[in-house]
């Protein structure tokens, strides 16, 4: 990621949006199963980033910085969605289930479902690394953790994904992170 953006520049933020919005949206579709929610959170993240654009420091990659805002926004959305879902279940007791949204078909697969089943920060690390090609430093900036923690998360995410998809796929052992100690996600 070549960050030649200038903080506070409207033109540079427009350019950042053109480059980063599709990637941010795809990341959020993994974290959020609802496409509309993914779009909403992505747009909110860019609004928030735009308001803080003058305070952005080039020491952190701009796209990773926006990703960090978007992932945090998605995690907050998931928390509130859980509370809403409880209310929805209570309201729908005794009624027929609604028909599935055709748009959800695109977002459904065993792989994406497995990613959504693991903690969102683990899933985000997988997507940032294996879909967007971020290195450890960029993932660390995107998730607001240290590079050491990134390695730990990638290893744990791989293990969880492998268990969820067995026996469909096999994941090779992550020898690169063998010295990592298990991370407690309650700290985050």
């Amino acid at each position: 990621m070549a960050d030649d953006y200038r903080p506070g520049s409207r033109e540079d933020f427009d350019r950042l949006y053109q480059v980063a919005y599709p990637r941010v949206y795809r990341t959020l579709t993994v974290l959020l199963s609802d496409p509309a929610a993914a779009e909403d959170c992505a747009q909110d993240a860019f609004v928030q980033a735009f308001r803080a654009w003058s305070r952005w420091r080039p020491s952190a990659p701009a796209e990773a910085w926006v990703h960090r805002i978007a992932v945090n926004r998605a995690i907050s959305y998931r928390r509130s969605a859980k509370l809403r879902s409880v209310g929805e279940i209570l309201r729908r007791v005794g009624r027929p289930a609604p028909s599935p949204d055709p748009a959800d078909h695109v977002m459904r697969s065993d792989l994406l479902d497995a990613l959504r089943a693991i903690p969102p920060k683990l899933a985000a690390a997988i997507v940032l690394r294996h879909v967007h090609g971020y290195n450890n430093r960029e993932i660390a900036a995107a998730l607001g953790v240290s590079e050491r923690t990134v390695g730990s998360r990638l290893r744990q995410a791989g293990e969880r994904l492998r268990r969820a998809l067995e026996p469909s796929f096999s994941l090779e052992a992550s020898s690169a992170f063998q010295a990592e100690s298990p991370e407690t996600y309650a700290k985050d």
Partner: protein, 158 residues
């Protein structure tokens, strides 16, 4: 221990993940931040806030000084303070202005440019009102009558 960027995911699974997420097309909606506008910084409003505060303090001061909420009164007061009316030639004539002499009705608004002598005339001293007192000064005591005094008559009888 430095971490490497080695993949820990099966290449086939990685390719499938890229393909599935690559098929996801973000909706081409208008960027929401474009209509959000730039945030208004507080310090940019500082001159306006200072001007409003200064005007408010000025109005309160003027109200306290004049006792009137009318800005026209404040203006008149300022003009009076900056350009006071020319003082009269003699300060003694000022105390004579009050209507103690029973003048018909004093003019409610004296023109500050009016000559002070015109105002001093109706309030003249009582000595100038009637000529009689001046005659009294000429003969305050009864003068001896020109007629013959009783004391001189014996000599005349003689």
């Amino acid at each position: 221990m430095p971490k490497t960027d080695r993949d820990s995911l099966d290449p086939m699974l990685q390719a499938r993940l890229r393909a599935e997420l690559g098929a996801v097309r973000p909706p081409t909606s208008e960027p929401r931040y474009a209509s959000a506008g730039a945030p208004i910084r507080v310090w940019r409003l500082a001159p306006l806030m200072l001007a409003i505060a200064f005007t408010g303090i000025l109005a309160l001061t003027a109200f306290a000084a004049t006792g009137s909420p009318n800005p026209a009164v404040w203006t008149n007061r300022v003009e009076t303070v900056i350009n006071p009316p020319a003082p009269g030639p003699s300060p003694e004539s000022e105390p004579a202005q009050p209507q103690s002499q029973g003048a018909p009705v004093a003019a409610p608004a004296h023109k500050p440019t009016a000559p002070p002598t015109e105002r001093a005339e109706p309030s003249g001293s009582p000595e100038h009102e009637s000529p009689e007192p001046s005659d009294d000064h000429q003969s305050p005591n009864p003068s001896p009558s020109p007629g013959p005094s009783p004391s001189s008559s014996p000599s005349g009888d003689h």
